[in-house]
């Protein structure tokens, strides 16, 4: 045995140590490498869950805020409903799919099923959108390969057709196309809807009261039946803020089925139509005369004989005294006296006054643009005389009502609005007539209802101190003249006088004869009275206590 030299032994030990170090270094590098790989993998994994399930683009859907009435009751809201789609490439037996789906789908969607085979090159085809969950479950239970479901946002209108014209409608993508729904898109903006999540957006609070709205529509529907009218329109407005508590145009429309009315259905006659409204315009004639110092309430003015301007003769339907007071122009509704009063205006004075009251400009509400007023090209004596009693000028009822609010609210212009809190704030309101003139008009309107000779007697509701004015206007016949048998009757009123809280406006289109008459005093006035009796308690206006027994009797007569 030869002993190894110490240097050889030392060299061997060094080599062994170097080998161990190399092995450990490799192991450590591998371990830390694995950790690094895992970290990167974990980091990426959170973003790797996106799956492209379809190759064809899916149409967009938008979420919308709910719309509630002034008391928080739902008028419109989003719900999620399943939509059925097909991936034609995965369908095994097209005939089976067509047969089974046709047995449960609505006819309109079933009719599209034959197009399925032709679309085999596509990976996504809608079968039926926004179906009920029960129907989706039936389809699911068929177990058909290639048939799938997606949640989609659908606008629901739980209150039904109530306030349909005002609420408006949305399209299949849930975009607003009419009414407040469209307004919401403009001011609150659209948001892309998550396919399977309901939105938590803050509700838009409307100024409408669901209960008052129902009362209005019920009363108008009764009037349409009783007087066999072609249509009926009405509103209830806060005279101070312009907030509209109820607004209806009958025949009404259902927001859930916009395809039935948006393009060609009944229009919203409250905003989309401009009409000659007749004698209710005398309120503005008198207001302008008082405001411009042309007359005082007690001044006498000739109501007879008839007034002749060129070939035209202006008459009254009843025989009035030779001279009546300016106040009696409202109470007894004299065309002749109103026309004579208007002829006292200087050049441009009449038009300027009506413009100041807000009757001649453009107007827009959240329910959409309002029909522009139609005014004569030449504001000559004949135009001035006929406009004095509401002929020769046509305005949308909502615009007229907004202007009329100033007659009874101290003279302040209001902006009609369907959104709670959106009226003109009190500090920045514009005064368009003096408080004195406004008070005088309020007294005249009250007298029109309380006087035995007043044309608005049947609008009286005991305890509510109703004031107002009737209007009966011949309807244009489409040519240059008027249809002698068709009229628009109306009643503009306010309660409780002399400082009213609410204004009511009722317009009946083409009411038929009752007892040989079709004047506003016998159809529009009692309709307005019934409306006030119905909605006043809902809106928190209670009758005066001392007349409670009379109130009860009077109200029952009106409501029943």
């Amino acid at each position: 045995m030869t002993e190894l030299q110490p240097t050889v032994i030392a060299a061997r030990k060094t080599r062994a140590a170097a080998a161990r170090i190399a092995v450990i270094a490799v192991a450590l590098i591998a371990a830390f490498g694995a950790v690094a790989v895992q970290l990167v993998r974990l980091g990426l994994e959170g973003q790797s869950r996106v799956r492209i399930a379809v190759t064809a683009p899916i149409s967009e859907s938008y979420s919308r805020p709910p719309i509630v009435d002034r008391d928080g009751r739902i008028l419109a809201m989003d719900i999620l409903l399943p939509s059925v789609f097909a991936d034609p490439a995965r369908i095994l037996d097209v005939d089976e799919v067509r047969e089974k789906l046709a047995s449960v789908l609505p006819p309109r969607d079933a009719a599209r099923l034959p197009s399925l085979p032709a679309n085999r090159e596509r990976r996504f085809v809608w079968i039926s959108r926004k179906v009920s969950t029960a129907l989706a479950e039936r389809i699911h239970n068929f177990g058909l390969p290639g048939i799938g479901f997606r949640w989609e946002t659908k606008r629901a209108y739980p209150a039904g057709a109530i306030a349909g014209h005002v609420i408006g409608a949305v399209n299949v993508q849930n975009k607003g196309i009419a009414g407040i729904e469209r307004h919401v898109d403009l001011v609150a903006g659209l948001r892309m809807a998550r396919a399977d999540a309901i939105n938590g957006r803050r509700a838009v609070r409307s100024s409408l009261s669901l209960a008052a709205q129902h009362g209005l529509e019920d009363v108008l529907a009764g009037a349409m039946k009783r007087y066999r009218t072609e249509a009926a329109t009405g509103l209830v407005m806060d005279v101070a803020t312009g907030e509209i508590a109820a607004a209806a145009s009958l025949p009404k429309v259902d927001p859930a089925f916009p395809e039935r009315w948006v393009a060609s259905g009944p229009i919203n006659r409250l905003t989309a139509g401009a009409y000659e409204l007749g004698s209710i315009f005398k309120l503005f004639t008198v207001a302008a005369a008082l405001e411009d110092g042309i007359a005082r309430p007690a001044d006498a003015i000739a109501a007879r004989p008839a007034l002749r301007i060129g070939r035209h003769e202006i008459t009254d339907i009843t025989r009035l005294p030779t001279r009546i007071s300016v106040g009696d122009i409202i109470v007894r509704s004299s065309n002749v006296a109103a026309a004579r009063l208007a002829l006292k205006f200087g050049d441009g004075q009449h038009r300027a006054a009506l413009s100041r009251f807000g009757l001649l400009g453009e107007m827009r509400t959240e329910a959409g643009p309002t029909q522009s007023p139609r005014v004569p090209e030449r504001w000559d004596n004949l135009a001035r005389a006929t406009i004095a009693y509401g002929h020769g000028i046509a305005v949308a009822p909502v615009q007229f009502a907004a202007a009329a609010a100033a007659l009874v609210n101290g003279g302040y212009r209001v902006k009609p609005t369907f959104i709670s809190g959106a009226g003109i704030p009190e500090p920045v309101r514009t005064q368009v007539m003096s408080t004195k003139t406004s008070a005088a008009l309020a007294r005249m309107m009250r007298a029109n209802v309380t006087s035995p000779l007043g044309t608005g007697r049947l609008a009286n509701v005991p305890g509510y101190r109703v004031g107002g004015k009737t209007g009966t206007a011949d309807q244009p016949n489409g040519a240059a003249g008027y249809d002698g048998k068709k009229v628009i009757t109306s009643f503009i009123g306010a309660f409780p006088m002399p400082r009213p809280k609410f204004l009511v406006f009722v317009v009946l289109h083409d009411p038929k004869l009752v007892d040989g008459k079709r004047l506003a005093g016998i159809n529009a006035a009692p309709t307005a009275g019934a409306l006030i009796a119905r909605v006043a308690p809902i809106l928190g206006v209670l009758p005066e206590r001392e007349t409670s027994k009379a109130v009860a009797t009077g109200e029952r007569a009106l409501v029943e």
């Binding site: 895992q38 719900i79 209150a159 399977d196 309901i198």
Partner: protein
Amino acid sequence: MLRFLTVGAVLAAFASAAFLYVTTLQTRMLEADLRTARAEQRELAREIATLRAERAFLARPDRIGPLARQLGMRPALGSQFVPAPNARQTAHD
């Protein structure tokens, strides 16, 4: 000394790997729970929205009105409201 450091580093590497594995596992489980909870939340929100719509639909005036009339009820009249001080007396009348 170097040997201890080396062994320590190896053990630390294994411990880190084990910790990472456990943490990853727990995270995945929590993520799964979160996904389930979110799905349940969406499902409940869907159901709540549907129930709210159904409740509003059932309470709509067009439906309640005729039913109330069938039961002999009528719209409330102003005369049926009395100021609070008179309420007791009216109730006793």
